[in-house]
């Protein structure tokens, strides 16, 4: 009995200790790790309060031989306090998947909840969200590249300051927490003035450079939220690329939880 009690209190002490570690992370972080984390927290903080948004996205897929294919997608997103965002993705092109819609409740650490609506069968299917590393619609973007940025998804390391496109940028290394991520690390360049991401290098599971994503044509909305109209992903290993163009950005349109359920998924257009 006594040994059991001692063991128990030891367990409680250890868990109490680990709690302090989590809540006061600075305790364990080096100066570079702390600064890397601070920059990411600041970037997230500066974009808070967009409430909801709608936008149209066009994807241009290009293979090595220069063949092209187009994807047309509409996105609706809802900012959720103290949790990941909700999003509804509606496919318009290619025509054979027109009417297909994808509903996602993302979570910072836990697995996301995802449903797919298949219009031919009028069927809603709950799908596994473990596939983060797979290609989105045959493009060079993986599912995880398109999901909302949450601070808890990575650990960080500040690498210094570098010039990108005439702007001074912070260079921060990010290590995905999720073991299902297709990456060992990402290197992110954010400009020191507005904390906008200008470039990301992705390193595969073998830690070799896989892809580079560059952001351009930033516009500011509601005098606060910066969004890039253009994103270009180049895959260095297979020679393919995907260009992403955003248009018709709209914020605070009045979307609510009721626009992100099974019923809205079924009639999404």
């Amino acid at each position: 009995m006594l040994t059991k009690k001692i063991l128990l209190s030891a367990v409680i002490m250890v868990s109490a200790l680990s709690l302090t570690l989590v809540s006061n992370a600075s305790f364990a972080l080096s100066a570079e790790e702390q600064k890397g984390s601070d920059i990411s927290v600041e970037a997230k903080k500066r974009d808070l309060g967009w409430q909801d948004s709608t936008a149209d996205m066009q994807m241009l897929l290009r293979n090595k031989q220069g063949q092209e294919s187009i994807r047309e997608i509409k996105m609706k997103s809802l900012e959720v306090d103290n949790d990941g965002d909700k999003s509804l993705t509606i496919f318009n092109k290619p025509r054979d998947v027109k009417g297909t819609a994808f509903l996602s409740f993302s979570h910072p650490v836990d697995a996301d909840d995802q449903w797919l609506f298949l219009p031919a069968l009028k069927r809603v299917k709950r799908i596994s969200s473990r596939n983060k590393s797979g290609p989105f619609m045959g493009s060079e973007f993986a599912f995880e590249d398109l999901s909302s940025f949450e601070v808890e998804k990575y650990s960080y390391k500040y690498l210094g300051v570098e010039e990108v496109n005439g702007l001074t940028n912070f260079k921060v290394e990010q290590y995905p927490v999720d073991e299902n991520s297709g990456y060992t690390r990402r290197i992110v360049w954010l400009d020191t003035l507005e904390y906008r991401i200008n470039k990301i290098d992705f390193y595969d599971r073998k830690n070799s450079l896989l892809k580079t994503l560059t952001f351009s044509d930033y516009k500011q909305y509601l005098a606060k939220h910066w969004r890039a109209d253009k994103q270009e992903m180049i895959n260095h290993q297979n020679g393919k690329s995907t260009e992403l163009k955003w248009s018709n950005y709209d914020f605070k349109t009045g979307l609510t939880d009721s626009d992100f359920n099974r019923n809205s998924l079924k009639r999404a257009r």
């Binding site: 025509r95 909840d113 009028k122 809603v124 799908i127 473990r130 045959g138 009639r267």
Partner: protein, 416 residues
């Protein structure tokens, strides 16, 4: 040539729905922008049966058909109101019953914050499993379309959907019943006797005009997606009885649509790479009472062979309390059957996919094997190849009568 919506009564209820919809439309259409969208597909399909037909009237080897399914969509009030019209028509080279048309959808939808009203001809799917859909009973099967029974006829309905914190409740009123479509005498993929489309009886004196009702609750709780449903009305599955052969007429199958009550539950647990699925029903008709279930899993491997290819493995088991179907008696074809499948998604620009499935009756020697492959060509064409092989040693088994109907099917569809 035959149009499925050819009975006067049905036409009247369709007209009634159209008139109601028209009134609703004219009220809410004022002073708002209407957005219109047209899309759809046209497809050419070629079937080839490897063996000669068992019955002399049946087509020999080759069957060609052409189908068209446009979709017209209008929305206004920022999408709160919408109208969808999806007619469908297929022309078949040999089977006159397969040359048929249907209104898949002609429905008006009004969406509010926590409720939705859907009025008209629609398609509604319930359930979670892949190889058999026990719970799914709203729409009639368009049996001539394909062998898998996944194609459905449009169903007239008034559907009120209520969104609550504790789940979505759907109430259905279903006026007007649709008879199942069956292969004609020239068609393959049928038993020795043709189902007679003019010899149909109903338990209800209201016949096709019986007002069916249904209720469904569905909810997601964490990793679980739950559904429970109740249906009261005309059984979508007909009891088929052979009529006596006489000198004037060949023997055929008479259709009898009984009334039924069905309770159903469906559950899916999404746990990491595993999807666990269960569907269970209790069906009660004047002729029989039974329980049935379909249960299994789906497991996915992401990025196999160090590529972008995903591999999904599926396994499901069917059980039915009636046991095996016996000649002249009721029973089930899926009383103790096991299904396994593998799905390869190549995740390439052309969305190439390959599905293989194997079904086996564990009580006697019968199996079915299918391969489905499809790929996009250019931006608007989808080519697919299907191969179906069927075998059974039990002459009471439907598969036994289809043993000569192994076939390959190639189709090319243009989407616009």
């Amino acid at each position: 040539m035959k149009f499925s919506l050819d009975t006067g009564k049905l036409k009247r209820s369709v007209t009634a729905i159209a008139v109601c919809t028209g009134i609703l439309l004219s009220n809410s259409l004022q002073a708002s922008d209407v957005e219109f969208e047209a899309s759809g597909n046209i497809a050419l399909e070629q079937r080839y049966f490897f063996d000669d037909a068992l019955h002399s009237e049946q087509l020999s080897h080759s069957q060609t058909s052409f189908s068209v399914e446009p979709e017209l969509y209008w929305q206004w009030n920022d999408g709160s109101d919408s109208l969808l019209f999806t007619p469908f028509y297929r022309v078949d080279s040999h089977d006159s019953q397969r040359t048929h048309g249907d209104i898949r959808e002609l429905a008006y939808i009004h969406a509010s914050d926590d409720w939705e009203l859907r009025l008209g001809i629609r398609k509604e799917f319930w359930g979670v499993t892949e190889f058999q859909h026990l719970v799914d009973v709203i729409n009639q099967t368009d049996g001539v379309e394909d062998f898998d029974g996944e194609d459905k006829l449009g169903q007239q309905m008034v559907n009120l959907s209520l969104v609550n914190d504790w789940g979505i409740v759907d109430v259905f009123l279903l006026p007007g019943f649709r008879e199942r479509t069956y292969a004609g005498s020239e068609g393959r993929l049928r038993g020795p006797l043709v189902v007679d489309e003019d010899n149909v009886n109903y338990e209800s004196s209201a016949g096709q005009q019986h007002l069916d009702v249904a209720l469904r609750w569905s909810h997601s709780v964490g990793d679980f997606d739950l559904g429970a449903s109740w249906f009261h009305g005309t059984n979508r599955e007909a009891y088929l009885t052979p009529t006596a052969q006489n000198t004037l007429q060949q023997a055929s199958l008479q259709q009898y649509y009984s009334q039924m009550d069905q309770l159903g539950v469906d559950v899916q647990a999404t746990l990491g790479d595993w999807l666990w699925k269960f569907e269970g029903i209790h069906r009660s008709t004047s002729l029989e009472d039974f329980w049935a279930s379909q249960a299994g899993f789906e497991y996915s491997f992401v990025g196999v062979f160090e590529s972008n290819i995903d591999l999904g493995l599926l396994m499901e088991h069917s059980w039915d309390s009636r046991g095996e179907v016996a000649l002249g008696a009721q029973g089930s074809l899926m009383q103790n059957d096991l299904f396994v499948g593998a799905r390869l998604a190549f995740n390439d620009m052309q969305s190439s996919e390959l599905l293989m499935g194997f079904g086996s009756d564990l009580d006697h020697n019968a199996f079915s094997f299918i391969i489905e492959a499809n790929r996009r060509f250019g931006d608007n064409f989808i080519a697919s190849v299907d191969v179906r092989l069927l075998q059974s040693n039990d002459e009471n088994d439907l598969l036994y009568t289809l043993s000569n109907d192994d076939h390959a099917q190639v189709s090319l569809a243009w989407y616009f």
